[in-house]
C-alpha cells in the first residue's frame, strides 16, 4: 500500500511543477485533497486493511496530505508573488519630461502690485480704503485747496460728466472723506489717521505706449499730533525699501501740489544702476517716483481737522507705473487691453 502513497506523491509532484496559474493550482488541490481527490481515495481504501496496516498506512496518508497541502499553499504564495511582479512589470515608465499642464488662472498685474503694497501698509497699521470713481468737484479739487481757476487745474485734464460730477483725476479725491470718517477717533480717542486708498483714475488725454486715460494710483495719508517732515522722509524710505525689497536711497526736491505744503517730488536711486547713472535713469542716477508732502492746513481744515493741533503727510504712488516697472511691461495699454496673451502670465506673486 505504501507504494500507492509514493505513486500519488510522485504524480502530485509532477503535476505541481506544471502549474502556472491560480486556477490550475485550485484544480490540482481538488484533484488530490478535495472530497473526491486521490488522497481521499487512498483513505477510503483503508477499510480493506488490517488494523495493524491501517495504523501505519493511515499515518502515511496523513503525512502525504499535509505535505501536499503545504506545497499547494507554498505554490499559492509563489503564484501571488509572481502575479504582483507581473503586474509591476506591466506598469509603463512615464515620461516626466513632458511639459506640465498649468491650467491656471491669473491675477491682473495691478492686483498683484496693489496687494503687495497693501500688505506693507497693513503691517504698519494702515487701513485700506476704497472710494468711488465718480466724484464731485469739491472732492477732487475744492477740498484739496484747488479753487476754480487755480492753475493746478490745468495740470490734469479731467473728464467731466453732464451732471457736473467728474471721473476722479487723482486718488486724492478720497482725502476729504477719509479725514471726515476718522477725525472723531483722532480727536476723541487719539487714534492717528493712517490710511491708504488705491484706486482707478482718469485723465482726458490721447493714449499711446506711455499714456493711458485710465490708470491706477495709490495714495496714503498719516495724520496725528507732531507728524513731521523727518517722519515723512523716514516713512517713504522704509516703505519704498519694502516695495522694492532692497535698501532704497531717496531724495526730496521741492514740488508744487496745492494740497501739500511743503510739497515734494521724491526721487529714488535708480533701480537698474543703483545711482551710478544708466540709460533708464537718463544718466542721472535717480528716478522720479512719487509726489508727497505735508498735508496743507486748508486741506486738513476742509476735513474737519484743526491744523494748529494736527499735522500729517500724504503721498501718491503710481500703481500702474510700479506694475510696469516691476514686470517690464512696455506698453501701458496692455493693462486694459484684456489680452490674455499678455495678462494670463500673471499668477500669484508674493
Amino acid at each position: 500500500m505504501s507504494d500507492k502513497t509514493m505513486e500519488v506523491k510522485e504524480s502530485f509532484g509532477a503535476a505541481l511543477s506544471q502549474v502556472s496559474t491560480m486556477e490550475e493550482l485550485e484544480k490540482l488541490r481538488v484533484d488530490y485533497v478535495g472530497k473526491k481527490g486521490l488522497v481521499t481515495d487512498l483513505m477510503k481504501e483503508m477499510k480493506n486493511l488490517s488494523n495493524e496496516e491501517k495504523k501505519t498506512f493511515g499515518q502515511k496518508v496523513n503525512v502525504l496530505k499535509n505535505e501536499i497541502e503545504g506545497q499547494i499553499s507554498a505554490k499559492r504564495e509563489e503564484l501571488k508573488q509572481r502575479e504582483i511582479e507581473l503586474e509591476n512589470s506591466r506598469m509603463p515608465e512615464f515620461d516626466v519630461s513632458i511639459p506640465a499642464n498649468l491650467s491656471r488662472g491669473s491675477y491682473h498685474p495691478i492686483t498683484l502690485v496693489q496687494r503687495r503694497c497693501e500688505e506693507i501698509f497693513k503691517s504698519m497699521g494702515f487701513t485700506v480704503e476704497d472710494y468711488s470713481e465718480i466724484v464731485t468737484d469739491y472732492e477732487c479739487f475744492e477740498s484739496l485747496n484747488i479753487p476754480k481757476n487755480h492753475p493746478a487745474r490745468d495740470m490734469q485734464d479731467t473728464y467731466y460728466l453732464e451732471n457736473g460730477q467728474l471721473l476722479k483725476s487723482q486718488t486724492s479725491a478720497a482725502q476729504n472723506a477719509i479725514y471726515k470718517k476718522y477725525k472723531d477717533a483722532l480727536v476723541n480717542e487719539g487714534k492717528p489717521i493712517k490710511a491708504i486708498f488705491p484706486g482707478r483714475c482718469f485723465r482726458n488725454e490721447a493714449t499711446d505706449a506711455c499714456h493711458e486715460n485710465t490708470f491706477f494710483q495709490m495714495e496714503g495719508v498719516m495724520v496725528d499730533k507732531d507728524i513731521s517732515i523727518s517722519n515723512l522722509i523716514f516713512f517713504m524710505k522704509t516703505m519704498l525699501s519694502e516695495v522694492f525689497q532692497k535698501d532704497i536711497k531717496v531724495r526730496l526736491r521741492p514740488g508744487f501740489f496745492p494740497f501739500v505744503e511743503p510739497g515734494f517730488e521724491l526721487d529714488i536711486s535708480c533701480l537698474i544702476c543703483g545711482g551710478e547713472g544708466c540709460p533708464s535713469c537718463k544718466h542721472s542716477g535717480w528716478l522720479e517716483l512719487c509726489p508727497c508732502g505735508m498735508i496743507h492746513p486748508e486741506v486738513l481744515k476742509a476735513g474737519g481737522i484743526d491744523p494748529e493741533e494736527y499735522t500729517g503727510f500724504a503721498f501718491g504712488l503710481g500703481l500702474t507705473r510700479l506694475a510696469m516697472m516691476k514686470y517690464g511691461i512696455k506698453d501701458i495699454r496692455d493693462l486694459n487691453s484684456g489680452s490674455l496673451k499678455s495678462l494670463a502670465q500673471f499668477t500669484e506673486d508674493k
Binding site: 488662472g105 485700506v128 468711488s132 465718480i134 453732464e162 498719516m222 513731521s228 517722519n231 487691453s337 490674455l340
Partner: protein, 790 residues
Amino acid sequence: MFLSMNWISDFVDLSGLNKMDLIAKFSLSTAEVENEIFFKGSDISGIVVAEILSVEDHPKSKKLHLLKVDAGDETPYDVVCGAPNVRVGMKTAFAKLGAQVGEITIAPRELAGYTSFGMCCSEKELGISDSNAGIMDITEDVKNGTDIKELYEIDDIIFEVDNKSLTNRPDLWGHYGIAREFAAIAGRELKPLDVADLTKYDSLEKVDLKIEDPLCQRYSCLKFQNISRKLSPMNMRIRLFYCGMRGLNFLADLTNYLMLEMGQPMHAFDSRKVESIRIKRFDKPFTFTTLDGIEREIDENTLMICNGDTPVAIAGIMGGLDSEIVEDTTSLTLESATFDAASIRKSTVRLAHRTDASMRYEKSLDPEMTVTAVARFVKLLTEFDSGAEIISSLTDEYAFKYDDVNLTFDKKFVDKYTGIEISNDTIIKTLRALGFEADVENDNFTVKVPSFRATKDVTIKADIIEEITRIYGYDNFDINTAKAPLYPVRADVEKTDEDNIKDILVKRYSLHELHSYVWQYFDEYKQLGIEVEENVELINATNPNIKTIRNSIVPTQLCQVKYNTGYASDFGVFEIGRTVEGLNAEGMCDEHKKLCITLFSKTKEIEQLYFELRDMLAVVTDDIKHRNLTFKKIEATHSYQHPKNLNEIYCDGVKLGCIGIVNSVVSKKIDKKASIVFAEIDVEEFAKITNASISYEEPSRFPGIDIDLSFLSNSFAPINEAVNNANCPLIKGIDVTDIYVDESGKSITVRLYFAHPERTLTKEEVLEVVNGIVADLEGKNIKLKFSFTI
C-alpha cells in the same frame, strides 16, 4: 526756461564755487533742472579780433575774396573768404591756425588755387546767434589779436529749468529772482539791481492813461524818443540767444532782455498810436490783428489795451500790428503792467495763444515790479544809446494792491513741522537771504513776506516751513519714525470679500482677471450688435467713441472675449469694476461696484457651461458667507441677453445680480460655435450679507435611513420646498440623484437622509414624514413615481 550762469553772476558773486554743484543744489532746493547742461563756448578757442587790411576779388570765383588780415601778429595772414560783407578796415572774428570752431580745427586750406591761413567767422559759426549773413562785424574799438572771449561773454553755462516746477513761483521767471535763490543757497550776497533814477523826469508831462477795468492791477508807462541804435550790443544778443530768444532789433531785444532778467513783460508802442491809453473790455466780440499778423477773435471777456476806443494790444498776451514800432516811429511808449492772472490764463486758453508774456502773467506777477522794471529799462537804454531821450514823466496807475503778508510763528511750530532742530539763527538767515524781513524774539518769529512772494505763493506759516527747509536741504535731515499710539486695524469687509472672490475664481476655477474701461465703446459694441444704452455722458471726451458711461460690465467684457477667441478653446474671465446706473435722486451718479464673469467654451454645451458658472457663484457665496443662492427667472431687457435662462440671483433675501446666456446674435458675432454665459453681481450688496456662522452638529452614532423618491416634476424647486415645509429635524439632507425624461415626462429622483441623534430610527416614523411630503406635492399636482428605501 533756459538760464545763463553769467547773467545770474551779474547779481551774485559766485566766484570760487563749483557751478555744477550749485546747479545740483538749486534743483534740490528750488526747481527741477533738466539733465542736460550746456557748456557754451567750450568748443570755441583761438578766435581773435582781426582787421581786414585788403580785399581782392578771387580771379576764378565770383564769391570768394582774397584778404590780408591783421590778427595782431607781425605779419598779416592770407585768407580766402566767401562772405559777402567783407570790406577793408572791417574788424571781424578770425580763427587762427589751430583754432577750434565747433568740431573743426583750423588748418591751412586750399580754396580754388589759393591757400587760406585761417578763417573769418560768422556769429552762427561761433554759436552765439543764428545770423549767418556774413562774417562778424565787430564795432568795438579793441586791439587786433584780442581773444574774442575777452571781448564777449561767449563762455557760459546754460541750464534749463522745468517750467512746470515754477508754476507757483512768479518771482523765478527772470534771472534776478533765480540769482536770489543762488545767493541763498551759496550763502552769498544778492546785489541790488542797477536802475535809473526816474524822479528827475517828474516835471515832464504825464502820459494820458486810465485803467477802466479791475482786471488791470497796475499800469506804468514812459515815453521816449531819439532812439538811434538798431542792433543790440553783442553780449545782450548772446544772452538772449543762449536763453532761446531770437534777436530782433535793439528795442524789441531790450524789452525781451528785461523780461528774462526781471520776469516783467514789457511792450513798446509807437506813441502816435497810443495817445490816450485806456485799459478795458468790450461789450461785443470783434477781430484784432496781433503783431504776428494773425487775425484773432476777441470776445467780451478779453482785456484790451486801447488808444481811446481803438484796441492796440491784447493785455498781457500780445501787441497789435497797427501800433507796432515801424521805420518812421520817432517816439515810443513803454508799457510795464500787471493784470489779473486768472483772466490772462483764460484769455490765453480762449485764443489758444500762449506767449512768453502770458506765461508769466498767469503766475500772478508782483505789481511792485512794474516801476522798477521801467527804471531798469531806462538804465540800460541810456547806457547803450546815449542819444535816447525820456519825454514824459513816469505815469503809473496802481489800481490793485496786494495786502502785505505778515506771519508770526514760534520755534515750537518749526520743530513740530520739521521734526529736527534748526537754529533760530539759521531760520533768520535763510529767510532774510530769500528777501523776507524776519526777526525773532524769545523764540517768537515775525516775518514780512516780500511783495514778489506775496501775490499767492507765500500766505501761511506752512509756506515759511518750506522756505526754511528747502534751503536747509532735505538731504541734511535726520530721519525718524513717528511716535504714534498703537491700535488694532480691522480689515474692511468689502475689501476682504473682493480679495477672497478673486482668489477663489483664480485659484479654484482658473479664471483670468481683466481690467477694462468705464465707458461704453461705441464702435466695439456696434461690431458685436450690442446697443449703447442711454446713461450719464462725458461732456468733454476728445474721443466720441467713449462718450457714454457703462451701466454694466458684461458688454465691455464681451468685447474682450471677442478679442481673445483665438487664445484658447475654453476660458473664463472676470473683472471687479464700476458701473453707473443713471442718476440718483440727488442728481449724483448711481455708482456700483460689480463682479462680472464670462465663460467661453468651444467644447462644452451651453447647459453644462451655465451650470459651471452657477456653481462657481454658489461656491463663492458658500465659501465667503456660508450661505446659499436662490434664483428667480426674469425677462431679458438688454440687447446682449438671451431671452431664456436669465435669472436673478438672491442671497439671504438680497438681490445680487443676474446670470444668463449671451444672446445668439451677439454670441455668433463673437464666435460661430462657442457657448458663452455671463453673470454680474453687485460686490457692495454681496459685502452687506452677513457671514452665517458654522453650526456644528454632532453626527448621529445610530444608523440612519436613506430614502429615494422619484417625482414627475419639471423643477426641483417645489420638491425642495415641500421637504423644507415638512420642517422635520430628522431630515439631515437632500440630494438630486437622477433626472430623466421618458414618455411620462421629466422625473427627478431625490434622496432624503434621515437620522436621530439618540436612537435608531424606525421605518414607520420615517415613512410618516415621507408620506406627508408626498401628499403635499400631490396637492400641487406633482406625482410620486416610486420610492425606494436604501
